[in-house]
Symmetry: C2
Subunit: 485 residues, 2 copies
């Protein structure tokens, strides 16, 4: 006899059923299944799966920074202290950090916002970056930026004047935002970036989006992703000022996802906090949260889960409530916090670790930049592919200017069946995977203007793998348009 199930898909939290996270979605699942098939000896038209779905640098062969790994190894096993080939500054760094851990162990809990010493180092780093004083009391360390972004978004879950709360996000966006808004029941308010203008943000589009949303919700916050993910664009200073004026006009809280700031190729990076302060009153009083991560940039330690949030101009009562909510989860991994320390306070030029550190970091930057530029040129030469100049290493978002009959047919079929099924770029990416083993993310996973189609690929692979991937994509694409035109 089968008993009645207490929890089922009909009586569970319906918001969770609406979460879509394309970067780890059905296409990745299919890629993993194909990989498992290949390992079992199943024959396919290719020998291996190329994962280009997520900006996971180490997974794609990037070597970790030795300084970070030595600090972690020594912090977990202080008995390694006597080893000769561990530089003095690593030992000194570990002494400092362990001196801050209760009883000198990374195995004891830290305070909920993180170890005080490391929060102070983050504040010093931000002060130097922005030329504006940062207060360590406003710094929170988390399990990656995602963890902190979710905490900050949670603050807005409250009706205002009887209206549900809404949060503006760029389209295309990173699906952490759409997914978290779904989970928290916050209204997603889309504003479109302008692909034809290098993914710039237009003031009128912000106003349009706000006006349309304000009819049914109370818009509380504005998410900006700069440098952009998945667009790979860097906002101009003018654009940032526009956004700040807009936020001031409508009394919005700014969430600035600035996690790719260390990946910019040549443009200058302006943090929202810095620009706000340089604009002076009243703008410098705006409320802001800014997010950093150790999963990107030269550290790229995705698996160690380390992120940082700075909260500017929040009321003490709000911070206390945020801290209470985070306290129920105790604290972020202390080893992750150690990585934050290394990132915001890399070896000083005079220290014994510096020569190796700087050569590792510089080689990385050089390689990633070369790859990005090569990728841009190579992909843009494929007929029907378009991509704005790449300003950030890691990934590229392509527009598929494909006039295939099949794309239109797919759309038509969906309308007839009135069921979601595959949207055209999902269909395209799935066929790319099945025929070549290359796994990329369709633009629909990030959001895009209706009728436009994209895909995002990471470009972190080594030269040989990249050439192979490019050849696969080109061959597939040419066959695809021939088949469907």
């Amino acid at each position: 006899m089968k008993i009645e199930e207490c929890l089922n898909e009909h009586n569970m939290n319906q918001r969770l059923l609406r979460i879509r996270y394309a970067v780890r979605g059905p296409i990745l699942e299919r890629a993993l299944a194909i990989q498992a098939d290949l390992e079992k000896g199943v024959r396919k038209p290719f020998k291996r799966v190329i994962r280009a779905n997520i900006g996971d640098c180490h997974a794609l062969g990037q070597r970790p920074i030795t300084f970070i790994r030595q600090v972690l190894a020594l912090a977990t096993c202080p008995s390694l202290h006597m080893l000769q080939d561990i530089p003095e500054d690593v030992k000194e760094r570990v002494r400092e950090i362990l001196g801050e851990c209760v009883s000198g162990s990374v195995g004891s809990y830290s305070p909920a916002p993180g170890l005080l010493l490391i929060r102070k180092h983050v504040a010093q780093y931000l002060t130097a970056r922005d030329g504006v004083s940062a207060n360590f009391n406003n710094i929170y360390l988390g399990s990656g930026a995602s963890d902190l972004i979710k905490s900050v978004l949670t603050l807005f879950v409250e009706k205002v004047d009887g209206k549900p709360p809404g949060v503006m996000i760029p389209i295309p966006q990173y699906p952490l935002f759409s997914g978290t808004l779904s989970e928290l029941g916050l209204q997603q308010v889309d504003y479109y970036l302008d692909e034809d203008e290098g993914w710039a943000l237009k003031y009128e589009e912000l106003e349009r989006s706000w006006r349309a949303a304000s009819e049914h919700c109370s818009v509380r916050a504005l998410v900006v992703i700069n440098p952009g993910n998945p667009t790979g664009q860097v906002l101009s200073r003018d654009n940032i000022e526009d956004i700040i004026r807009f936020a001031y006009k409508h009394n919005l809280f700014i969430l600035a996802d600035e996690v790719y700031q260390e990946n910019i190729i040549s443009k200058p990076f302006h943090s929202f906090k810095k620009v706000m302060h340089e604009m002076g009153d009243p703008y410098k009083q705006l409320q802001l949260s800014s997010f950093l991560t150790c999963s990107k940039g030269w550290s790229a330690e995705c698996g160690l889960r380390a992120g940082v949030c700075e909260l500017v101009s929040l009321q003490p009562r709000v911070l206390t409530a945020l801290e209470a909510a985070r306290s129920t989860q105790q604290c972020a991994s202390v080893l992750g916090q150690c990585v934050v320390d290394c990132v915001v306070r890399p070896p000083a030029p005079s220290s014994p670790s510096f020569p190796l550190f700087s050569s590792e970091r510089d080689r990385l930057r050089r390689t990633l930049t070369e790859r990005a530029l090569a990728a841009h040129a190579a992909f843009n030469s494929i007929p029907g592919y378009f991509c704005n100049p790449i300003e950030v290493t890691s990934f590229v978002l392509f527009k598929l200017k494909v006039q295939c009959l099949h794309f239109h047919e797919l759309k038509y079929r969906q309308k007839q069946n009135r069921r979601p099924g595959l949207v055209p770029d999902e269909f395209y990416c799935l066929r790319l995977l099945e025929e070549t083993g290359v796994c990329v993310v369709p633009g629909s996973g990030f959001g895009q203007r209706p009728g436009s189609y994209h895909f995002r690929t990471t470009i972190l692979h080594d030269r040989e793998e990249f050439s192979y991937m490019l050849a696969c994509i080109r061959r597939f694409h040419l066959n695809f348009i021939e088949e469907y035109s």
Copy 2:
């Protein structure tokens, strides 16, 4: 000119303002402030603060298990491989784990539920523990048990038949539960444990609680904490069977917080899953989630944030939604996952690490057990203190049988003022802190029967520190009752 604040305490998420997390609450904050004062040279009637508020073993001087730390050091710095004093089985373990990490780096993301190899090892461990087959697909690794408990509770955020969802929790309880229910907007449905019967759970009390709550909410799930925190009791097998029958009768989902299972002193531990299966149909079909942690037991690696959840008999669609929600946070720390592997697969008796490992683990168990028994005897000898026999190492919950006028007066004053202020046991613990430097958690932070007062202290300190703490508490208490009687 001060601009209007977008986010303030009136328009923020009001649920967050209701979170109380006593273990890291105002008394700890005061303790940290006092400690900072002492460091600055401020004179107090004591020289140091004794933290007995949280079960943070390493913070209280417990030494980490060498095997775990060697695995972590080697996993972060594989170049240490050539070191002679790292045992072969540690090297082999690291080879296996890194073989599972994409491109052999702990710096790459794992799948959202955790590395497959480690989930398989957890399944083998649970199968051996319960004599019931566990499926690795039902195993999730998280940033501590707290992270996973929150995820599972999130599943129940949905009205049923127009009624808000409710979750039954024991009183006293660990405030992770009350805090998370507050944050998620789930109704907290209290059932009282019976202190006079060794904190046993009575079937009639479960029924009373359910009936009372069912008038205004739909009771969906039942939390059990076994071994109990803060009570330190272990449920008898009969008690567990009663609870399972009750859950079956009312179609409830069981959340079994079993994180202290490795800390039991002498009684046998029965997991809910094992008992359900031994009871046979229909009980073995009940839906259940069970939680383990690496922060307790012999590993006690609180700062590394590693926990495990097994989900039993959930629909695939529900699991998929849970996984999507967890995917937006990417994955738990891969180094935390390595700790899980060490805990569920400690060195085999024939391996080179075994002699040191077993001597470290056994010494720990012996010491903690001795301390618990000594603490029980010593505290129970203080007039006005009562505590049931201690069945779990780590902490003790005392009932204050204090007939002080002052306690009554405090209650009276609160009624008059109609404001919360300090409840009597908070007042007691705060004075204990101010006068002796000893920081414990008042029973009101865990919940208690109206009119009864308690405090919980950890008993993880070394012998000398413990004697000092005990003397402080005894002296304070005797003065307190003299002053207020």
